[in-house]
């Protein structure tokens, strides 16, 4: 028996999925969730084989929820997003269903998944999150803080530091670790506000207080929060073009 969780903020949309799933006797809907928070909790508790995931949802959207999962299950996206945006993650998700969802298309997606379910090397949805899948720039970062989910608004960030496989986000309320990369954040955050000043540092422009020469060809930036970060030669060039020095 496969466990399935439906995550969508519209009751009718979940209802539709349930009725479409009825003929599949090998599948059981173990939970229905109305937002990303609930979805996250349910996935951790029930460890499903497949989730149907809407993208635009209350509190925590579909992508943000996936970002927080260490070991995400197979995903079929269900959304009214346009096709163009969805093509980007075609190769990582099992499939995507455009709303309104019709029976034929739904059956194809299920077939695809049932085939992959027996196959061990199915595509990993986590790889998808490395690409810039968002429409426009993000103004917040979601992190896991012990068992809590914390949403950090972009304006609260002091700076972000690369730390092996993790990134360290330093904010006014403390620092948080997240499994992600600086290049991913560099792509999703507004480039007018966040500058990659160094291989290991992403800094909000508003945090810059002073920049001093340091060693040959590199600089040190003094931030309003008191921290000092290294600025590489190319980082300096980026700052110069952005700030028009």
């Amino acid at each position: 028996m496969y466990k399935v969780i439906l995550i969508d903020d519209e009751p009718l949309a979940r209802q539709l999925l349930k009725s479409l799933l009825e003929p599949y006797k090998q599948v059981e809907v173990v939970a229905e969730c109305g937002d990303g928070f609930e979805g996250f909790k349910a996935i951790q508790e029930l460890n499903p084989d497949l989730i149907f995931l809407d993208i635009q949802m209350p509190r925590l959207n579909g992508f943000e929820m996936l970002e927080l999962l260490d070991n995400p299950p197979a995903v079929i996206f269900t959304t009214a997003f346009d096709e163009y945006a969805l093509k980007a993650f075609e190769s990582h998700a099992v499939d995507y269903l455009l709303k309104p969802i019709v029976k034929d298309r739904f059956e194809k997606a299920m077939q695809k998944w049932l085939q992959q379910a027996t196959n061990k090397d199915r595509p990993q949805v986590s790889a998808l999150l490395e690409n810039n899948i968002y429409e426009g720039y993000q103004h917040r970062i979601v992190v896991k803080d012990n068992s809590l989910i914390r949403i950090i608004p972009a304006q609260d960030i002091y700076y972000i530091e690369a730390n092996d496989d993790y990134i360290k986000i330093v904010t006014k309320d403390g620092s948080y670790l997240k499994k992600s990369t600086l290049s991913h954040l560099e792509q999703t955050l507004d480039p007018q506000q966040f500058v990659r000043v160094h291989r290991s540092y992403l800094v909000p422009v508003t945090q810059l207080m002073r920049i001093e020469p340091y060693e040959k060809e590199s600089h040190i930036a003094l931030l309003h929060c008191g921290a000092k970060v290294t600025v590489s030669k190319s980082g300096m060039a980026k700052l110069k073009t952005l700030l028009g020095w």
Binding site: A13, P58, N61, P100, E135
Partner: protein, 334 residues
């Protein structure tokens, strides 16, 4: 006009030469006709040169320089011509001609400079006019294209989600599905109709919003409540497609910020020549929806600017647990 002016100058020239300087009528006339003709040709040449000048950059300077060159040539030509044809056996005139060369040159030079300056300025003005016209045309086109695009952006998400709800209702509650199709058709029909309108009575816009809300409340069930507070007269107007995205935004903010029941308030009041619409929705500062998802308020702001050339007609306020959007519509706009 130019011909008349030339004739007057010609007559004065003859008169001065005959009556004040006591030359014979014949000599005076010959001198006058020759001078005027040569000067006329020179001026005409200058006008042609200015017209042919490709740009308007330093055209005045160019004109003055050409005037100097042509004036020198004109003066020499005039002197030689007069000496050859008029002064043949008149010693008195010959002497006088020699004495007046400098004066003649000065006069020609001043006249030619004046002609060149005036035609240079005229060319400048024509050029500016053309450029201004072109810019106005371009901005009108751009404006229309942008308005069209902004209107187009309003629909798809909403439409697809509604169709999905209908899809679900067909099996669970066919009656409700039919009702929803009716509501959706009403909404779309009035959307299409409104494409061509510049402004609408507020009451009509509110009906449209109501039909939109009727569909949204089917989609979100009991979670969505909307309250209207109205204080306006029947002649208050509003451009179409401004209020709907704001209400949509309030719903998104409200519903995506919490999982409980959400009440949105729409307060409309006519204050003098300004229609003030205040939309309030509850909002959770900690879980504010990520921006950049969908149409939002930037489109409304842009449309207001295109329509009224003002950037102060849309305001947003965050006040504790509530997010307020204030939309102002000038009523006597031409």
């Amino acid at each position: 006009m130019v011909l008349l002016l030339m004739l007057i100058v010609l007559a004065m020239h003859i008169f001065i030469l005959h009556n004040i300087l006591h030359f014979e009528w014949g000599t005076a006339a010959k001198d006058a006709v020759t001078s005027c003709l040569i000067l006329g040709i020179a001026a005409w040449g200058i006008i042609l040169l200015i017209r042919a000048y490709p740009t308007t950059a330093v055209i005045t300077l160019y004109g003055l320089f050409m005037a100097l060159v042509i004036s020198t040539a004109t003066a020499i030509t005039e002197y030689e011509t007069l000496k050859l044809f008029v002064a043949t056996d008149n010693v008195n005139y010959q002497l006088w001609l020699k004495q007046t060369v400098a004066v003649r040159f000065l006069f020609i030079w001043i006249f030619n400079s004046w002609v060149s300056t005036v035609s240079a300025l005229r060319k400048n003005i024509t050029n500016l006019d053309a450029r201004f016209q072109q810019q106005t045309d371009a901005s009108i086109l751009l404006k229309e294209a942008e308005l069209f695009k902004l209107r187009q952006q309003l629909q798809p998400h909403f439409l697809y989600n509604s169709l999905n709800s209908i899809n679900a209702l067909i099996t669970i509650a066919p009656g409700k599905a039919q009702e929803m199709i009716g509501k959706l058709s009403d909404f779309l029909r009035s959307s299409v109709k409104r494409e061509s309108e510049d402004t609408l009575p507020v009451s009509e816009e509110l009906e449209y919003i109501q039909s939109y809300l009727a569909i949204e409340s089917v989609r979100f069930g009991d979670r969505l409540r909307v309250r209207f507070e109205k204080e306006y007269t029947d002649d208050a107007v509003i451009p179409p497609f401004l209020l709907q995205p704001i209400v949509e935004n309030a719903i998104k903010f409200g519903l995506y910020g919490s999982t409980g029941v959400v009440t949105i308030t729409v307060h409309i009041v006519l204050e003098g020549a300004m229609l003030m619409i205040t939309i309030t929705n509850p909002y959770d500062a900690d879980t504010q929806p990520p921006r950049g998802t969908g149409f939002g308020l930037e489109g409304v702001q842009r449309r207001l600017y295109l329509l009224y050339a003002r950037a102060d007609l849309l305001e947003t306020k965050k006040d504790g647990k509530y997010f307020t959007t204030i939309l102002k519509i000038p009523q006597h706009h031409v």
